[in-house]
Symmetry: C2
Subunit: 615 residues, 2 copies
Amino acid sequence: ANQGDELRALMDSQGDKKTEQSSNDVFRILVATDNHLGYLENDRIRGNDSFRSFEEIFRIAKASKVDFVLLGGDLFHDNKPSRATLVRASNILRKYCLGDDPVMFEILSDQTINFPDTACVNYEDPNYNIGLPVFSIHGNHDDPSGVGGYSAVDLLGCCNFVNYFGKATNINDIKLFPILMQKGTSKLALYGLGSIRDERLHRTFQSKKVQWVRPAEDKEDYFNLFVLHQNRLRRSQYYKNAISEAMLPGFLDMVVWGHEHECLIEPEESLGKNYFVSQPGSSIATSLSQGETRPKHVGILEIKGDQYRLTKVRLKTVRPFMMRDVILGEVEDLDDSGVLKYLEVIVEEMLENIRNDYGIETAFTKETMPLIRIRVDHTGFKKISPSKLGQNFVGKVANHDDIVSFHRKAQKKDSDGKSLAQIEIDNLLASRDDYKTPIHGRVTKHLKISEDMSVLTDKTIADYVQCFVEKMEKCAILDGFEKEVEAKKKALVMDRSINTKKDIDSIVADKLIIPEQDDQLLVENGDEKIMEIEDEPSLSISAPLSRQSQPSRQVRRSQRSERSQRNREVVVVEDESGSDYVPAGVLCDDSESISDAKEIEPSSRSSCSKPPSRS
Amino acid sequence: ANQGDELRALMDSQGDKKTEQSSNDVFRILVATDNHLGYLENDRIRGNDSFRSFEEIFRIAKASKVDFVLLGGDLFHDNKPSRATLVRASNILRKYCLGDDPVMFEILSDQTINFPDTACVNYEDPNYNIGLPVFSIHGNHDDPSGVGGYSAVDLLGCCNFVNYFGKATNINDIKLFPILMQKGTSKLALYGLGSIRDERLHRTFQSKKVQWVRPAEDKEDYFNLFVLHQNRLRRSQYYKNAISEAMLPGFLDMVVWGHEHECLIEPEESLGKNYFVSQPGSSIATSLSQGETRPKHVGILEIKGDQYRLTKVRLKTVRPFMMRDVILGEVEDLDDSGVLKYLEVIVEEMLENIRNDYGIETAFTKETMPLIRIRVDHTGFKKISPSKLGQNFVGKVANHDDIVSFHRKAQKKDSDGKSLAQIEIDNLLASRDDYKTPIHGRVTKHLKISEDMSVLTDKTIADYVQCFVEKMEKCAILDGFEKEVEAKKKALVMDRSINTKKDIDSIVADKLIIPEQDDQLLVENGDEKIMEIEDEPSLSISAPLSRQSQPSRQVRRSQRSERSQRNREVVVVEDESGSDYVPAGVLCDDSESISDAKEIEPSSRSSCSKPPSRS
C-alpha cells in the first residue's frame, strides 16, 4: 500500500494535463545502486533475488515515467558474470529499455568523450528503439580488468542496453567530463566515477589530480549531479581507505553514493559543503549485517532548474531480513544444554515479528522466506552447530544454515577522536561485502620469498593470485609478472648509469627470464632517456564538448538531433577549490586559474578532443 | 586479385538490373564455420587473427549482398569467452548486421519453436534495425553448460545480434524442427543441430531417436539444408566417435558440415545418398596440422527452387601457414651438430616459398608473418630446443617458439579395412583441436578411489574436474556431485524393494552427505514408482509452425509481417528412413507413418506448440 501510494503521488504529480507543460522542464531520474545481479545465483531459494528486485526497479521506472535510470555500480556481483546472469540481465533490460516511449532530453556534450567506445548515447543510435535509457558506472565488483580493461558493464554497453560512463583511463590523473543534458529549460551536468580502489583514489584526490571539467557557457545554469562508488566517510577526517565528503568540490548540487549497502536514500546535507548526498543502498542484502536490515528503496529524483525533489519508493520484492544480538551470559538460568532451545525460541519470535511487519498470513513461500541473523556473544558457553539450529527452519528461513554467528565479548571502545574514526571505519567496512579472503596470508606463507627478490615481492604475487582466484582472470599471474618486469625495466631506464637496452636486459636477466619483447623500450632522446608513458586522456580539455554533425547518420527522433547541434558548450576545468581554467592546448601542470574560455573551430576540435581509444 | 574476381563475378550475377527480378527468387547465403573468436587472444602477434578474419567474412557478406549468414558452430573458442572477446565480437556484429538493408526473405515456421528464448527471428523485432541476419548453431567449444544451459552464442542471441538455433533439449530424443523460409518462389527448410558429444549423438542416431520434422504442405518444394558440428566420417563405416554421412536422411539436399577445420567447401556428393556436403573449414588455424594448411574459404550458397550453386571466396586475412615433414635419418651427411642449421635452412626455404605464393615483397608484418610447422622424425638423433631454432625467426615466423615438433619413426600401417577406418579416424582426430589434456589420468592417479564407491567413480569425478578446469565452471564439481546423487536416487527409485523417499535417503546417506532437497522426488503412482523426468520438448509436433498474429507488435517492414501471417505450414515428422507421420496430439512411441496432416486451430495451437522454456 505504501509503495502504491507513493507511486500514485508520483503519477499525480505529472499525469495531470495542466502540469504537463511544466513537467517538460523536469528531469525525472530513477536512482538505484548495487543490484549485484547473479548474487547466490546457484542458491535454490535465493538464486532469483537479485533479478527479481532488478526487474521491480525497472517496473517502477516505467510506471513513474522517468527520463532515465541512473545506477551507481555493482550492477553485477561477479567480475565475470555467468552466462545465465548475463542472459537474464539482458532479457530484463531488453524488456524494459527498448520500445517506443519518447526520450525527452538531449545530450549537449561531446558523446565521443562521454562514451568513448560507442561514441553515442544509446537512444540516438538509429538502429535501436530505446524507450528508457540507463546510465551506469561500474562498482568494485564489476570493475574493469583483464585484456582490454573491460568491465562486465561494457558487455551491456556494446549491445546498447546501457550507457556506461565514468571509467577513468588514468587513475593517477582523473579528469571528470560531465554528460551535459537538457530537458526543456532544465540543464543537468551528470558526473560519474566508477569504482577505484579507495586508497588509490584517496591518493589521487590528495595530490589534487582529480579535475572536474565544467561547462564554460551557462555553467551556473546546470544542476551538478555526481555518482560514485566508494567507501563513504561522512565525518571530515581523512582516512586513506575511504572518500570523505569534504574531498568533493563545492559546486556539486547532489551526490548519489554507491557501494554502501545501507539505504540512506533521503538526501542529507554534506558537512561544510553545499551539496546533498543520497545513498540509495543495495537492492539486495549481500551480507548479513546491520546496514542491510534497513528497508530497501530506490529514489525518483526530480530536477527542475536548481531545485530538486527526491521521492523514495520502497522495493517490495526484497526478502525480509531481521537481525538480533544475544549475549548468552546475560540470560538467566541458561547452561550449554539449553542454548539450542533458547535460540530456537528467538528465531520463532523473530519470524513472528516479520509476519506482523510484512503482513504475511500464510506460510512463507520461496519468495517471502526471510533472512535471519542472530549474533551470539557466547562468552562462557560452547558454540552450537549452526546446521543443528538450521534444520528446524528449513522452508521457514532462507538462510537456515547460517542463522547464528558467534563471537566473544565485545572489546571496550576508546573515546578519543582518532579511535572513533577508526571505529566508524571498522563498522563501515564490516557492513560491506568487500572480499576478505586470506589469500595474501597464504601466499606469503607458502612463498617465503628471499629478501633479495627485487622485482616480484610476496605482496605483488599475492595481488595477482587474488585476481586470478577472485576475478577468474586466467592470465592474471602471467600478466602481472610481465607488468612487474616492465616496471622494473622502466625504473632501470631512469637510472643514468645504464645506457642500452642490453644493459637492462642483462641486469634483469640475472634474476628473471624475460618474456619476448616486440617493442623497443628505450627512446633515445639526447642524454635524457625518457620512457614512452601513457599519454593523458586528452591534451585539449578546453575543446567544446558538443558533438559534430554527422550527416551520414540517420537519427529517428529528428528534433533531438537538431537540438544536439544547436548548443555548443565550451568547457573549462575546475580544480578542487572551484576555480576555472582553460589550458592552452596542453594541460597545465598546476591548477592555476585562467579565465576566458575560447571556442575552438570544429575542425581542430575533432582531432584533439577525442581521448585515445583503450584498445 | 583472386578474391576480387570472385566477388566481382558474384556482384555481376546479381547487380545487373535485368536479373533483379529473378534474383528475388534466389536465396543467397554466406556459409562459414569455426571462427574461434578469442583464439590466442593474449598472443601479441596472433591475438587479433580470429577477429580479423571474422570481420572479413562480414565484409564479404555485405559486399555479396547475401540474405543471411549461416555459421556452423565454434563461433567462440572459449566456452566462457573473455569480456574482451565478447565486446569485440559484438562490435563486429553491430557494425555489419545492423542497418537499413532490406531483408528479403520471410520465416514461415513457428518462431517460438525455432527460437525458444526470443520467440522471434532477430530482424522482426520492431526495436531493432537488422540489415543482415545471422543464423548460428553452437560448436563443441561454445556448447551450452553451467546454470541454465546457456551457450556463449546465447549471449549474442539475447542482445539480438544472432539467431541461435539447433540447441537440442533432450540429447536422447532429438526432434529437428526446420526454420522454414521463403524468398520469392524459393522455399528453404533450414535444419540445424548444435554440437553434441559424438558418442552420445551417434548412439541417439543408432537408436533411431533423431527425428526430422518436415513441412507437411508442399514439402517437395523445399530445399532442405542441414548444418551440424560433429566429427565427420566420409566412409560408410560406423564409428562411434563420429557421425557418418550415411546416418543422415536422404531427403536432405545439402549439408554444411562444421567442426572439421580443413576447408573442403566445394560440395561433394555423399556416398549412397542424394545430398551434397560442403565443409567450409575454420577461418583460423587453431592447430598446426595438415588440414589447416589448406587455403581458407567461405562460400556464397545460392539456392533457387531445387537448384543450388556455391561460389567459394578465399579469405585474404588468414595468416599463411606451411607445413613440412622431415626425416633426419634420410638426410645425407647429417649428425647431431648439424640439425639446427639444417632446420634453419628449411625454415628459410619455406619462408621464401610463402613470399612467392602470397606475393609478399616487403618484410613480414605482424599480419603477414606466417605459421611454420616442421614435423621432424628424429629417429637416431637428439632433439633440439624449439626455442633455440625459434630465436632466429622472431619477427619472421608468428609461432617462432614452436616451429618444430619431434616424433619417432612412423609405425607401419595395417591394410585391412577396419584398421584403415581406425587410421582415418586417428588422422581426423589428430587434425582437430579437441581438448587433449591429461586431466583424467591425473585425477585417477590422485584419487585412488576404492572399488565400493558406487555413486562417484574416478571417471565421473575426472569429467567434472575437466569441466571445472576447461570450461571454467566454478560449480562444475559440486553440480556434478549433486547430479550423480540424483541419478543414483533415481536408480534406487526404480528398485522395487524400496518404497519411500526415506529408504532411498538412508541408503544413499550410507556413503554420502545429501545436499538439501526442495522437491519431492518420488511420484506415488499405484505400485509403479515413476520419476518425474524431463518432458519431451513438444508433445504436439504436428501443430502448424506459423506464428500467431501479434497485434500489439510494431513491425517496421510491414510487407514482411503480412507475408508471415499468410502461409500456414503444417509439419510432419520424418524418421531416418524418410517416411512421414503426424502424431495425433501426442508423439507416438514408434515412428510409424501416418499421412493426412491436419491443421489445428490457432487457439489450441498456442497452448501446445511452444516447448517448455529452459529456465
